[in-house]
């Protein structure tokens, strides 16, 4: 017997998470968006298990403290819906710093994400960082300290993340150091920008927490924008 689809549309919503919303954790963001959908009266499809809940799939969780211009969440609608109007309704139900960009029919799967572009702003770079950033990024080996599990213990391991940096561009603006870079991203291999930041500031006096990180765009294997 063919499977009966219980929903009318599968859609993807892209949204920005900026400003103070960077301090909302991934799980809290999920709850926040679920509630916004409820307030907006979205005909969202619920799971049918023992504990029915709105079925939402976020492509990649965003680290606490990062801003993003390219978050996505997939969900199903139980009836045909005007997507432009839907986007507006959800947007109105969201807090100010989370903004819906578009709701559309997806052309790729979250698993297709392979790269992500970040803008990393060092607000107070010291001289050492300004002098060494370029050469570290250009060298054949970029060692980052990664926390990994070894059995039950958590240990710090040095890994070479060079092959996970697809490109980079450094600029100085108003005494700030701005790094635009494309890093490995996605379900199979994900490089948190904090790893790269750690590698860059390791031998400097620059505070690794005085850095703004903005996720700009997600890409597929051949650098097409994830849609």
């Amino acid at each position: 017997m063919p499977e009966v689809k219980k929903w009318a549309m599968e859609v993807r919503m892209s949204f920005e998470k900026t400003g103070m919303a960077k301090f909302i954790s991934h799980l809290d963001t999920v709850r926040c968006i679920t509630r916004a959908m409820k307030r907006a009266g979205v005909p969202i499809w619920f799971t049918e298990g023992f504990n029915p809940h709105a079925f939402l799939t976020f492509a990649m969780p965003l680290s606490l403290g990062f801003e993003s211009l390219c978050e996505t969440v997939d969900f199903r609608l139980t009836e045909e819906t005007d997507l432009e109007d839907l986007a507006k309704r959800i947007n109105d139900a969201l807090p100010a710093d989370i903004t819906v960009k578009e709701i559309y029919l997806p052309t790729s799967l979250p698993n297709d994400i392979r790269w992500a572009e970040y803008k990393i702003i060092f607000n107070n770079p010291d001289k050492i960082l300004l002098d060494t950033a370029e050469s570290i990024l250009s060298s054949g080996e970029i060692l980052a300290e990664k926390k990994v599990k070894q059995g039950r213990k958590k240990v710090t391991k040095e890994v070479n993340i060079k092959e996970h940096i697809k490109s980079f561009e450094l600029n100085e603006e108003n005494n700030k150091l701005i790094l635009k870079t494309v890093l490995s991203s996605g379900p199979s291999m994900n490089i948190n920008p904090m790893l790269l930041i750690g590698a860059l500031v390791k031998d400097t006096e620059t505070d690794s927490q005085d850095v703004d990180v903005i996720k700009i765009q997600s890409y597929t294997e051949n650098m097409e924008i994830f849609k």
Binding site: S25, R35, N51
Partner: protein
């Protein structure tokens, strides 16, 4: 809006969303458009404070006024506090990001005694002098409300105005008055003189307290415009009282994160240990239509998927059989769960039982409070063992497999036999499960016994009673553990030192102001949190002030002693409390207010009206669990 220098700190703290503001439904106004700015402070962390219904009510009440702006402030967690102090950042309100010292009115809610040091700490962090005597200008005016205000004396050194009773009306009157005096350019004293004339306003500096040599109170003299007794405020008609149309929806998980429908205020039960049961009298109910409408509005505006009903002893609501189907009618369609706390299942019709099964069920909780019938009679907890077991059985039939039992230890007249009775009752619940042929097969039963330490509180029949010492409580805890035989029963109890401090602060006098101040200076804060509570620092503070905890906690007071809170009028007659105390010692019960009015006196606050008198009991008066 959080300021730039704060944003930097937020990257270094746990749960930064505690400090950002910007939540859905939070109210942002232009400070130039309002005449008065009010910082509502909850002296505990964000997660606790954001769960508090009173704050939500007053926040929306004040913000409904175009001429005032109410913002929220919570006690920062220690990581954030350290960074703030290190970087010279003052405690700010979440909506504007402005420091407390920029506000006209700073209001604290005193929900529990162990939050007192946080009040001092928050004022200090906000750039406001902690001691009232160091604040000489008209603003900021520091006010406080909440249940602890029924004995505000220990906090008298720090608070300008206390507001005993319900805040809805008096808050607006006080705001009107403060705006008027700001515009007139009045002094602090001029304002306080006028404020003291409002019913439900207590200005502690207008009362002079003298002590006897033994430390008891000799006299309390009212000065200036202050009345001899301060009568608490109540809202006469809850249907027309202000209730929020929406709640601020936190980003992070907070303790109570759901729609709350308040169903009534007051309580008919008269349990002699329970302060709330007396200080919120008389009982006043809201209509089911109103509750339903309010729940609907808040659920729509928040997106919450859960509704809970709020009151003391919710199942005493006379129209619950009407309210539940009204709520279920729309809530279930929208996948909204309705949770009903502290319900008497045996009081429900089978139909309602079926309705309740539709929603995800929470655990089943009983509060027998004491282990033997004799002691239950003494504390006037009119529950019989048979009723507990009958209700448990009905619940087991309905598929419940876990039961929570709440008890207290250290109750007046309690003996070790009463403690053993706790274990015996828990065992009987376990046996009831296994003897029930209809129980859910393949499942065991879990009985969780939770034992709080009894703390005598003002305005209860036990306000004169000595509190058990820590050693006595520890002995009783040991006895309970050794009396418990089944592994289906788990026992948990409360740390006894915190109860001692709670008891001291609850029945303390003004001299404790010095102790609280010293304890805070020694670093005491978040005293209700085990990881912060440091009794040794408190002991030092008591020693340095020449006071003892025993004087306040463990001493039996005579009925004719002047109590520190005697000049507060909560409607309840002192003679009634004396009579109830004597009956407790004779293990005599008092029927609840719907069976027979005991003339407690609280109805005089409401022009003689009391919702207990005019209502008929739904299902007969025997089901009183």
């Amino acid at each position: 809006m959080v300021k730039k220098e704060v944003e930097k700190l937020l990257k270094k703290v746990q749960k930064p969303a505690r400090y950002t503001g910007g939540e859905l439904n939070s109210v942002v106004k232009d400070k130039n458009d309002v005449k008065l700015r009010y910082a509502f402070c909850f002296p505990d962390n964000y997660e606790i404070g954001m769960s508090h219904l009173g704050m939500k009510i007053l926040y929306s009440l004040v913000n409904e006024r175009p001429d005032a702006w109410c913002e929220r402030t919570f006690a920062p967690w220690e990581d954030m506090e350290a960074l703030m102090r290190e970087n010279g950042v003052k405690l700010y309100a979440l909506e504007s990001g402005d420091a407390l010292d920029e506000f006209d009115l700073i209001g604290f809610t005193l929900q529990y005694e162990l939050s007192y040091t946080n009040v001092l700490n928050m004022l200090d962090l906000g750039g406001v002098p902690v001691l009232k005597k160091d604040r000489t200008s008209l603003t900021p005016m520091v006010i406080a409300g909440g249940p602890c205000v029924c004995n505000p004396e220990p906090m008298a050194d720090f608070i300008d105005i206390f507001l005993p009773g319900e805040g809805e009306e008096v808050t607006n009157e006080l705001i009107d008055l403060l705006i008027e005096h700001k515009e007139k350019g009045s002094t602090r004293l001029e304002f306080l003189r006028e404020a003291a004339k409002i019913q439900g306003v207590y200005v502690p500096e207008f009362y002079n307290v003298d002590y006897n040599e033994d430390g008891t109170i000799k006299s309390v003299e009212n000065l200036e415009t202050a009345p001899e007794k301060v009568k608490k405020r109540i809202i006469s008609d809850l249907d027309s009282a202000h209730y929020p149309k929406n709640f601020v929806v936190p980003f992070i998980d907070v303790v109570q994160d759901r729609t709350v429908g308040e169903v009534f205020r007051g309580c008919i039960r008269g349990c002699r240990f329970c302060q709330a049961g007396f200080i919120y009298r008389p009982i006043r109910e809201k209509s089911p239509e109103k509750i339903n409408e309010q729940c609907r509005s808040i659920s729509d505006a928040t997106g919450y998927d859960e509704i809970s009903l709020c009151s003391l002893s919710t199942s005493d609501y006379t129209k619950i059989e009407k309210l539940i189907p009204m709520l279920f009618d729309w809530a279930l369609k929208e996948s909204i769960n309705v949770s009903l706390p502290s319900l008497r299942v045996d009081n429900f019709s089978d139909e309602l039982m079926e309705e309740l099964k539709k929603v995800r069920r929470s655990g089943l909780t009983f509060a027998p409070e004491a282990g033997t019938q004799r002691l239950r009679d003494a504390i006037n907890k009119n529950v019989t063992e048979e009723e507990v077991l009958r209700t448990a059985l009905k619940a087991f039939d309905g598929g419940w497999t876990s039961v929570k039992l709440y008890f207290m230890m250290g109750l007046p007249t309690e003996t070790l036999d009463d403690i053993k009775g706790i274990a015996d009752l828990a065992q009987k619940v376990v046996d009831a499960f296994y003897n029930n042929p209809n129980r859910e097969k393949g499942k065991g039963v879990q009985v969780s016994v939770s034992c709080a330490s009894f703390v005598p509180k003002p305005f209860t029949p036990f306000q004169w009673e000595p509190q058990d010492t820590g050693d006595m409580l520890i002995e009783k805890q040991k006895h309970l553990l050794s009396s418990t035989k089944s592994r289906k029963i788990s026992i948990s109890y409360h740390q006894s030192d915190t109860s001692v401090l709670e008891g001291v602060l609850a029945r303390g006098d003004r001299r404790l102001g010095d102790v609280i101040y010293k304890a805070w200076q020694k670093g005491c804060k978040f005293d209700s949190w085990d990881e912060f509570f440091d009794f040794s620092k408190w002991r030092e503070a008591f020693d340095e002030c020449g006071l003892t905890t025993e004087f306040y906690a463990n001493r039996r007071r005579e009925f004719d002693e002047i109590l520190p809170w005697d000049h507060m009028d909560y409607g309840i007659r002192k003679e009634f409390l004396v009579e109830e105390n004597k009956k407790a010692h004779r293990s005599e019960t008092t029927p609840h207010c719907r069976i027979k009015c005991s003339a407690c006196g609280a109805n005089k606050l409401n022009g003689g009206k009391c919702d207990a008198g005019s209502k008929k009991m739904g299902n007969g008066s025997q089901n009183v669990l």
